[in-house]
Symmetry: C2
Subunit: 403 residues, 2 copies
């Protein structure tokens, strides 16, 4: 017999930094510890009742495939929602996907071939790496700094990362894991740079309603002159606290890209039907729904920042959007620290689970002192979780793990 | 501005032969025609009530992500189901996926790199082509013949398609679109060939309960000596009439492949949560459920074969499994005929929608006279749909479209 071997892309595919320590957290739970799961963007907010009612009252007899591009009524509901935000995407310019995750796969697959490169400001949503890996595409990181609030670097830095294989720029705005909201000038510079070099701009805007301190979200779709190169990624997961529904969308005014996305979408038949029915309901919510949502997350952010400010040696710029904070900790290796918090530490029977920062970077060695904190619980819980984290930091430093 | 261009893989990605004519069918419906949708494997059977009850009565407050490899209770339920079938897959050797579709992507991605090749007996499930395209992998078709009931050709034919880049064999058993159930000797030959040449065997067995005329299904997992190279694809879609749930699984005893699949699965976070809850319930069904199911589809198959036998010039071997029949029609171009049925034909206000065969082949020019018929409706409806098809054939031949 001749042996078999896993593929190179399979062998080198990265474990998710968000999920790799989960077994340690589960073990801690089994040992009776209360674990604050701040590693993952899984909000505690109940999925709004009207979304449940629509499937409880209107469950179909046969749970059938939907069209590959989504239920027509959902496409219409998304287009109406976009219209209210002055995002010029019609129902014929979008495809419903299995979460924002699949939207990224369809978009990146449609603008790259194996061996091509995509520019991504780092730290970035770690899963961009996983998808690129699967598609045989290389991520070229554009470094940003905690001290600058992770805003975009000058053009020269971008130019240095260009190659003949560069096909697209992928941005996340408001940013996961940074919480950064790009200024209009930044968006304009990204688009102008893309136009100069013949690149697509893929924008993940799933957190657009999560903006604080008077920041307003500027969408890449707001510039008609660049419409042909812009691809919009979206998801209902965070906006409607429905992560498990797995419903997102990919949109573009570029009809070639849309057709390519549709062909790839046909291969996987359809997105989940029940999640789509729930989403139809959700996109009909009043503007006040989003205002309440932003207010709630603002309170959570403030609780986190207040507690972080009490911890010596912790660096964290105030995030202006999304529901994450990237914090630089006074430890030598944040992954070791995060693991230790789960395996060895407790404070009054509790511990806090944060995502190690390194996996959000493509540059080797970057982010080793950082962690991502998802402020997905109500403010008092967040305060407590941060207090436990602070106690853990103190104990860890005494053990000699200081950086 | 420098223009952008869709990727080569995007530009050349095939439209699904199952879905490409859907707009014509929708138009026909708008014009008041009753369309029999035999193009797609979407059964009319109600999704079993206990599956609905479990989410109606037990809906969680927050529709949260599940673990990336699926809810533990579902993994357990699938492993128990496998145990009853003597399929040696434990709950630690499987990952729950977003439909069988995603299972194929994870499996093929884990055993191939861009430029690698996969051997697939043709005609094959058209979407294998779409996924390969997305992953930069080449499908090398292994020709089979309608006259042989689409059984596998001798070893020499396989050897001629081998190259230094061949990594795996992908089979579907019982077959979509052919309905062929492979004999144990065929399975053994595939495994022995794979062992000789260092290939993986990916087996799509989603139709294993759909076997007729005393045929029994032989799984590739039934041979311990080949366990390391075998990857099993599964789905609840057809078995439980829950296509829209989008729940499947990928299983293997090869821990490297499993880990690679898991890493890719982590990137997309999780499969749909509601579909998983429904599946937990479904995998607990008694053996009689499957017996009833096979009996129902047997009646449908017999109705189709009976009607096809009345049509002059139609060639169709009796399919022994799944719920498809590949039929060779007396027309010059089956896609033109299938389109014409939707745009121009009606019989007493009705028409029949079949999938053109060409898209199920990778060999250029193959399958142009064939169509796939999905017998997904109860027997009297199938009879009527076939009668309408027969009338259409007669009318088309009079117009001069005969082959």
């Amino acid at each position: 017999m001749k042996p078999v071997r896993v593929s190179r892309r399979g062998e080198t595919s990265p474990a998710s930094p968000i999920r790799k320590l989960v077994p340690l957290a589960v073990d801690a739970g089994r040992r009776g510890r209360k674990v604050h799961y701040l590693n993952i963007g899984q909000p505690d907010l109940p999925t709004p009742q009207p979304m449940w009612d629509t499937i409880i009252e209107g469950a179909p007899k046969v749970l059938a495939y939907s069209p590959s591009d989504g239920l027509p009524e959902l496409k219409k509901a998304i287009a109406d929602y976009y219209q209210r935000l002055e995002i010029p995407i019609s129902e014929d310019q979008l495809i419903v996907t299995t979460g924002g995750s699949e939207a990224i796969v369809l978009a990146v697959g449609s603008v790259t071939d194996p061996g091509d490169e995509v520019l991504i400001p780092e730290p970035f949503y770690a899963n961009y790496n996983g998808f690129s890996h699967l598609l045989g595409v290389k991520v070229m990181p554009i470094p940003t700094l905690p001290e600058d609030g992770y805003h975009l670097p000058p053009r020269q830095v971008w130019e240095e990362r260009l190659s003949a294989r560069t096909r697209a720029i992928l941005i996340c705005n408001p940013g996961n894991p940074t919480g950064t909201v790009y200024r209009p000038e930044e968006i304009e510079e990204v688009l102008a740079f893309a136009a100069e070099w013949g690149l697509f701009v893929i924008a993940d805007e799933v957190y657009r309603e999560f903006c604080f301190d008077g920041e307003t979200h500027r969408s890449v779709t707001h510039y008609p002159e660049y419409a042909d190169r812009v691809i919009l990624i979206d998801s209902i997961s965070k906006r409607f606290s429905a992560c498990g529904a797995r419903i997102g969308s990919v949109s573009t005014q570029n009809s070639d890209v849309l057709e390519s996305c549709l062909h790839f979408a046909q291969a996987r038949l359809s997105p989940p039907t029940l999640g789509q029915l729930m989403a139809v309901e959700a996109f009909g919510f009043e503007p006040s729904y989003y205002e309440d949502l932003a207010r709630e997350y603002l309170a959570r952010r403030d609780a986190v920042m207040d507690e972080l400010s009490k911890m010596e040696g912790v660096l964290c710029e105030v995030p202006k959007g999304a529901f994450y904070a990237m914090a630089k900790l006074p430890v030598d290796d944040a992954e070791k620290f995060a693991s230790w918090m789960l395996t060895d530490f407790e404070y009054e029977g509790e511990t806090t689970f944060v995502a190690p920062g390194e996996g959000f970077y493509a540059t080797p060695g970057a982010g080793t002192q950082e962690v991502r904190i998802a402020y997905v619980f109500e403010a008092p819980v967040m305060r407590r979780a941060m207090e436990v984290l602070g106690r853990g930091l103190q104990a860890y430093q005494k053990l000699g793990g200081a950086g």
